[in-house]
């Protein structure tokens, strides 16, 4: 287990270098660049473009640019944003914190509601509730997140007026924990729907399979209460798969935040990535993608380790 963990942790480094290389390469394939984005209409003056390109160091060869970036990145210096002219770390980490809050809220919905729906539909499968719940999860998994977000805003913020429409806190006063939680409800739910549906369907399927196994029959024969049969015996066998899929969903929720943050005006990393692409802010974009990738890899590592801890067969293999 220890050797496996060490091996997985070490494999993060080449993965991150690979991700940064691919991102770097892709960014430089896209037409235009920061000089054009900064100059706007003055970009029609080739001398002006050349001067700014040189000032930004973009006239150097791509390997040289990448090497300079990598050397700085390993020391924690991600450079200065070409869009906002502030250090990328000052820009990135507050946004990362906001996205983590949104991801945590989304994960809460996805796991709690996903498990509840998955377990109960398995228990009452082929009932009207089961069919209705599966239909809703199918719709949830198929509908675009931004569309669901807008529907939620229309219903709960505009028509009913129960919840705020956008942002992380009211712009008209200092932020409070209660205020942030209130602002979190709609975007977190919108972001969670697809993951919720996926978790619910996988848990339902696993539970249906587990509930007809001989050990459940044995548990029932021993007179164990129903909840114990379901939670301790059936669900425990579904748990490794549930954790595995939840780990993957964390990355998905992190990425899905991009759409949700734009719709709900949530000031997070996804929105920053979106605006950095528009402004060709390579410096910020490189760092943001690296952080998202690192988070994704780390969460999957934790999920793998948790799965091994819960399933002795995995650990043995």
């Amino acid at each position: 287990m220890l050797a496996y963990t060490a091996q997985r942790v070490l494999s993060i480094i080449p993965t991150l270098i690979g991700v940064s290389l691919v991102t770097f390469g892709l960014l430089h394939l896209v037409p235009g660049g920061p000089a054009l984005a900064m100059l706007g209409m003055a970009a029609s003056d080739p001398k002006a473009v050349a001067a700014v390109t040189k000032e930004l160091g973009l006239d150097r060869s791509l390997p040289e640019q990448y090497w300079i970036w990598l050397k700085r990145a390993v020391t924690g210096n991600f450079g200065t944003s070409t869009e906002f002219h502030v250090p990328v770390t000052a820009l990135l980490f507050p946004k990362l914190e906001h996205t983590l809050i949104l991801t945590a809220g989304s994960l809460f919905y996805a796991v709690v509601l996903g498990l509840m729906v998955g377990i109960t539909t398995a228990l009452y499968h082929r009932s009207l509730y089961d069919r209705l719940a599966m239909l809703l999860t199918l719709i949830g998994a198929s509908a675009p997140v931004f569309w669901i977000g807008l529907l939620l805003i229309y219903l709960f913020a505009i028509r009913l007026g129960w919840l705020p429409a956008l942002g992380m806190a009211s712009p008209l006063g200092p932020p409070t924990v209660l205020g942030v939680l209130k602002h979190l409800i709609l975007p977190a739910f919108a972001n969670s729907i697809i993951s919720l549906a996926v978790i619910a369907r996988i848990v339902r399927s696993g539970m249906m399979e587990a509930l007809v196994q001989p050990y459940i029959l044995a548990a029932r024969a021993r007179g164990l209460p129903r909840w114990r049969q379901v939670v301790v015996h059936a669900f425990r066998n579904v748990l490794p798969d549930a954790i595995n899929i939840t780990g993957l969903q964390v990355g998905f929720l992190f990425g899905g935040a991009l759409f949700v943050e734009v719709v709900f005006g949530w000031p997070g990393l996804g929105y920053l990535i979106y605006s950095s692409i528009q402004a060709r802010d390579y410096v910020t974009l490189q760092a943001a993608v690296l952080i998202v990738s690192a988070a994704f890899i780390f969460v999957n590592l934790v999920a793998d380790l948790a799965r091994m801890a819960l399933d002795p067969r995995e650990a043995r293999s």
Binding site: V30, P31, G32, G33, L36, A37, M38, L39, G40, M41, A42, A43, S44, D45, P46, K47, A48, V49, A51, V52, K54, E55, T80, S81, E83, F84, H85, V86, L91, P94, K95, F146, L150, I153, Y154, A157, I158, G161, P164, A165, L166, G167, S170, P171, L172, V262, V263, F264, G265, P267, Y271, L272, Y274, S275, Q278, A279, R280
Partner: protein, 572 residues
């Protein structure tokens, strides 16, 4: 159902009733034509220049206080007057913090354009040979850090973007390559050779030759050409310090920002001009890039003002009690034709294409009245704007005849390069599809080639290549200077490679004019020449609708690209 005259007048002022409908209602109530005319004149909020259904003001009322939340359609970028190039950066955020050496009055509810007015410059003298401009500075102006705004500060700011190496001199320590590049469109043609200060209240600019747009061009393109920032800030940490601690002479002070999310500014209690002091206590700018999100923010009470509302939402927002304002401004949505493509070499083909486009219907139906058909290459607020330039009306029959005369009765195929969105671009894809549909009626088959904004800017700035028949851009200035950029044969913005040097001759004559009337007449002659030659096709002028909450007071729709919020306040 007949409403009262007062009710109809209120609806007219709030944009729920057009002038024509108001007149019909008033006539139904038995009012005379004279009375109706008088009432129409008494409605100050009506956009007379546009004859549109939108007013140019919200409720006007004396008072002060409140926090104004403004929902913007994109991020602001660098909070530095020399480097901030994003439209929204200057349009709303920085304009409140910094002031330009040349001020314009953009919030006059009855004015149709925005004349140059005294600001931090009291007055400007021009020498009889048109080569020397003397700026007399306002007394007692200080930056918000307490340092004086004087001739030394002006010269320091100009030296940040004035590339003196072209004159064989050493650039100032604060010279910034990017700033010079961003403003090169102004400083290069202005050909300034010296800048002196005979006393702390006076700055003298010497030009190599007369340049008529010298003063009117200064506040253009984001005011950054002459937005004044405190030299003391730069001394604390260079260019980065200016963006981190924006210090200007304006009616508001920078308070804090979360880049890409929220920017807070507060009233400047020590503003140099008490009569022009800010009314609102605070303004919060929110970056709300999704149009539906902006509308939701307005409806949910999280924003008081939203820019660029989706046109399909405008009617319902008006019904809900929000006020939609709009106003003519320098904006022009125009097309340029690629002179290297053989089919455009015949002037009749260019004319036929222009005549095939139904710009009136496009403005009314596609843009739902939020735009006007363009009749000039000059912005509607520009002194040289005229509706007499001679651009032909939409006429399919005449267009077909012209094509037949040119031997192209069967039409031809061409490619139209457009962005999917971008600064001031309105609905480029929808508009291009409209143009393609119209052109197909005369046999011109247009293939659309769409690109994301920065990629498009890359392609556009390089000039049209073989196979591209036309492209599009949105720009315009209140300064008379603008036609120099797309029409001068040597300009990098002549992206269609138009070869007619008669434009250059007229533009040179306009720029070297020693009086405004001559310069304006020459720029109108450039417009008239283009109306014949049709290298640059003026399509529509955006009225730039804005939606405001009924709580907002003294909001006047700007007649320029930039907005002045100092008179606005919010009723609690």
């Amino acid at each position: 159902m007949t409403r009262s005259v007062d009710g109809a007048l209120t609806d007219l002022v709030h944009g729920k009733l057009s002038r024509r409908d108001f007149a019909a209602h008033a006539a139904a109530l038995g009012l005379s034509v004279t009375a109706i005319s008088a009432l129409l004149r008494s409605a100050p909020a009506e956009a007379a220049a546009s004859d549109a259904v939108f007013p140019i003001t919200g409720p006007m009322q004396d008072g002060s206080g409140g926090t104004l939340v403004v929902g913007q359609e994109s991020n602001w970028d660098v909070l530095d007057p020399c480097l901030g190039t994003g439209a929204v950066t200057w349009r709303t955020c920085l304009y409140q913090i910094y002031e330009s050496l040349v001020a314009r009055e953009m919030d006059n509810p009855s004015g149709l354009s925005d004349p140059i007015v005294p600001g931090i410059t009291k007055s400007i003298d021009r020498s009889s040979d048109g080569k020397t401009y003397t700026f007399h500075l306002q007394d007692g102006v200080t930056f918000s850090d307490g340092t004086p705004f004087d001739a030394a500060a002006v010269m320091w700011n100009v030296e940040r973007q004035w590339d003196q190496s072209k004159l064989g001199r050493k650039n100032a320590p604060q010279f910034d390559t990017t700033a010079a590049a961003v403003r090169s469109w102004f400083w290069n043609p202005a050909q300034m050779v010296s800048m002196t200060s005979p006393n702390p209240g006076t700055v003298v600019f010497e030009l190599a030759k007369p340049f008529a747009p010298f003063v009117s061009g200064m506040p253009e393109s984001g005011l950054g050409t002459m937005g004044m920032s405190s030299p003391a800030v730069w001394k604390t940490g260079g260019t980065a310090a200016i963006a981190a601690h924006p210090i200007g002479t304006g009616p508001f002070l920078f308070e804090s920002q979360s880049p890409g999310d929220q920017l807070n500014i507060v009233k400047n209690p020590k503003y140099w001009n008490p009569a022009g002091a800010a009314k609102a206590d605070r303004i919060i700018f929110k970056a709300l890039t999704d149009p539906s999100t902006r509308v939701a923010a307005l409806r949910g009470g999280d924003a008081h003002v939203i820019f660029a509302p989706p046109t399909e939402e405008i009617a319902s927002l008006q019904r809900e009690g929000f006020i939609v304002t709009a106003r003519a401004n320098p904006h022009l949505w125009y097309m340029q034709l690629n002179a290297h493509e053989p089919y455009w070499k015949d002037r009749r083909v260019r004319q036929a294409f222009f005549m095939s486009i139904n710009r009136n219907a496009m403005a009314k139906r596609l843009m739902r009245g939020t735009a006007l058909p363009a009749v000039s290459i000059n912005g509607r607020t520009c002194p040289s704007w005229t509706d007499q330039a001679g651009y032909p009306e939409h006429n399919i029959k005449a267009a077909k005849q012209l094509l037949a005369d040119a031997g192209l009765e069967k039409g031809f195929e061409t490619t139209f390069q457009i962005p999917t969105g971008g600064s001031g671009e309105m609905d480029p894809v929808g508009m291009a599809e409209w143009i393609a549909r119209d052109a197909a009626q005369v046999g011109i088959k247009i293939k659309l080639q769409t690109m994301e904004w920065i990629s498009y800017l890359h392609a556009w700035a390089g000039g049209m290549t073989a196979g591209i028949g036309m492209n599009q851009q949105s720009w315009g200035m209140t300064s008379i200077y603008w036609p120099n950029l797309p029409l001068r044969t040597t300009s990098a913005l002549n992206v269609g490679h138009q070869p007619d040097t008669r434009f250059d001759v007229l533009l040179d004559q306009a720029n070297s004019s020693l009086d405004d009337e001559t310069a304006i007449a020459k720029y109108r002659a450039v417009d008239a020449l283009n109306a014949q030659e049709m290298w640059l096709l003026p399509i529509v002028n955006d009225l730039a609708p804005v939606v405001i909450s009924p709580k907002v007071r003294n909001f006047v729709h700007s007649s320029d690209w930039w907005w002045d919020f100092k008179k606005v306040w919010v009723q609690s």
